[in-house]
């Protein structure tokens, strides 16, 4: 057992209520120091509440949150001084330039003069915002604004970085770039807790927690999560995907089906045998042309965990 003070973030039996609504229900979670950890789940899963607790911004209705060994509900000033937070709706000064925004945040966080210039250079390098120093924040594209907000959260070289859905609404190329930047920051030794509603982004993290309706439904590396899929997924193709789907969704051993373009994903309770396939091909009069096992995605696992079968 690792001593708590060497932990990055230690959450024990955390609960939070908003009125009668239990936003987070008895959640426990450890993030190792230096880990890139993802909180993944749809809107309303409780990700933001959990992150705000880590950032000292709310008082738990039960349980404790330790950040680098310090209690986020009591030792507020010490936790904040070592933590960078990029909320979902961050505020940049639209009429200040990239550089002015960074310097403003450096003042706020009392970054010492002799460290400041070196840190700014590092941040320009990370974020690739160097060529845009003189551009007003209001004139940046979505992806660049996101990178500037990240840089502002990093200006005081925090030990822990918390990011609430930083890639929501950002185009796929910028999303990719953003994750590369997070990896580079992690190499500095920073512990990163990041949330996302895009389930495919789980693969970008060292470990993830899948959240649903205020609970954690799975924790592990992306590979561990995917290995936890209890059913068997096949990808089928043929002349009439809709017909294939109708046929398979009527079989008792089929858990669920989904159309993907011209292909159908079929989730079976257990692996079908060769004779099953021959029988189905026969029954479908040649409409079934290809079938092959498909690796389940994190989304498939998530849907299985929350019990969404049809």
């Amino acid at each position: 057992m690792t001593a708590p003070e060497t932990r990055g973030i230690q959450i024990t039996n955390f609960r939070k209520l908003y009125g009668k609504t239990e936003a987070v229900k008895e959640v426990s979670l450890s993030v190792e120091r230096g880990e890139l950890f993802g909180l993944i789940g749809p809107d309303g899963a409780g990700k933001t509440t959990l992150m705000r607790a880590v950032c000292t911004l709310l008082v738990p209705d039960g349980g404790t949150v330790l950040v680098q060994g310090r209690d986020a509900a009591r030792d507020i000033a010490a936790v904040r001084a070592r933590l960078g937070y990029m909320p979902q709706r961050f505020s940049l000064y639209q009429d200040l330039t990239v550089e002015q925004n960074l310097r403003f945040f450096a003042d706020l966080f009392q970054v010492r003069q002799k460290e400041r210039e070196g840190r700014l250079e590092e941040l320009y390098r990370f974020s690739r915002l160097g060529p845009f120093k003189k551009r007003r924040a209001g004139a940046l594209s979505g992806g660049m604004r996101q990178k500037l907000a990240l840089s502002c959260a990093l200006v005081h070289t925090p030990e822990t970085l918390v990011l609430d859905e930083p890639t929501t609404g950002v185009d796929p190329v910028s999303r990719h770039e953003f994750w590369e930047i997070l990896r580079a920051i992690q190499k500095e030794g920073t512990t990163i807790l990041v949330s996302t509603a895009y389930l495919d982004e789980a693969d970008r993290c060292d470990r993830v927690a899948l959240m649903h309706e205020g609970r954690i439904v799975a924790v592990g590396t992306p590979e561990e999560i995917k290995a936890g899929f209890r059913h068997v997924l096949y990808r089928l193709a043929g002349r009439d995907a809709r017909e294939l789907r109708r046929f398979f969704s009527g079989l008792p051993q089929v858990h669920s089906t989904q159309l993907f373009g011209d292909a159908v994903h079929v989730v079976f309770a257990k692996k079908p045998g060769q004779s099953d396939w021959e029988e189905w091909r026969h029954a479908l009069e040649g409409k079934l042309e290809h079938w092959s096992p498909e690796r389940p995605s994190v989304e498939d696992v998530f849907l299985e965990l929350i019990g969404s079968g049809r």
């Binding site: 690739r128 979505g142 373009g261 849907l303």
Partner: protein
């Protein structure tokens, strides 16, 4: 997919010296689900606006549902349904009242409206919520209601503009089920998205970059051609590097923001 529903030939749209859409030729079949992918500023919004009859091309040809984009834009508007991420539903009306309201806008006769209302409630799984206030519905239900309202006038073509970004995966899969059923009844579905998981639901996808087509095929064919497992990886391979370069030159990514 026998008849063509949308055809363009060398379609080009310039804004001054800027070429937003550059010699795009596509054919979309009836009942096809066709995706338009591209980063911000790739030209997909301009192309969609031309195909919706909202913007005239500079050169080239395009017909939508058999109507010419230069001379018959009003007919085009009557033959398409449009739905975006921001539903234009009245939150303080019930589900049935929203349908009736939009039926009125589209000028549907009383009996026709009754029939369509039943059909929407049934096809989109809303029958138990006809008298529920729209404001209190879960996201997925609102989305299906918005879709139903966009299709009240039975358009042969449906445009979905960034339809389901960031919602919960169960709601997203149910939404795409509805879309597949709609396409199965013969409606052509044109979708813009920058959410690559969503591209996997399309029959074919068009990937645009600086106004041009850089790929047009089924998601499976694209994945096997580039030896990638996901459309996200295909997209990055095709578009990623070029965009990286244009961005560092500081000429890109200024427009087309989503708040």
């Amino acid at each position: 997919m026998h008849e063509t529903s949308v055809t363009t030939r060398e379609l080009t749209r310039r804004f001054g010296r800027f070429v937003a859409v550059d010699r795009v030729s596509i054919e979309v079949g009836s009942g096809e689900i066709f995706g338009f992918l591209g980063a911000n500023g790739a030209g997909k919004t301009t192309l969609i606006r031309v195909l919706c009859g909202l913007l005239k091309p500079t050169t080239g040809e395009a017909t939508v549902a058999g109507y010419d984009v230069y001379t018959q834009s009003e007919r085009i508007k009557q033959n398409i349904g449009y739905m975006s991420q921001r539903f234009s539903l009245y939150e303080d009306l019930t589900v049935a009242e929203n349908i009736e309201f939009y039926g009125g806008i589209y000028g549907l006769a009383r009996t026709k409206l009754r029939q369509k209302e039943k059909e929407i409630l049934k096809n989109f799984g809303l029958h138990r919520h006809a008298d529920s206030l729209t404001a209190g519905l879960p996201f997925g239900f609102k989305q299906r209601l918005a879709l139903g309202c966009a299709m009240l006038h039975e358009p042969p073509i449906l445009f979905l503009d960034e339809p389901t970004s960031g919602v919960d995966p169960r709601a997203r899969r149910e939404f795409w089920d509805t879309i597949h059923e709609t396409a199965g009844r013969g409606t052509t579905v044109l979708v813009t998205t920058h959410f690559m998981e969503e591209a996997e639901y399309c029959n074919r996808v068009l990937i645009m970059h600086v106004g041009r087509i850089i790929a047009l095929d089924t998601p499976d064919a694209l994945k096997s051609r580039f030896e990638k497992r996901t459309m996200q990886e295909v997209f990055l391979e095709l578009v990623g590097k070029e965009i990286g370069e244009t961005r560092t030159r500081g000429q890109h990514g200024e427009q087309g923001e989503k708040p």
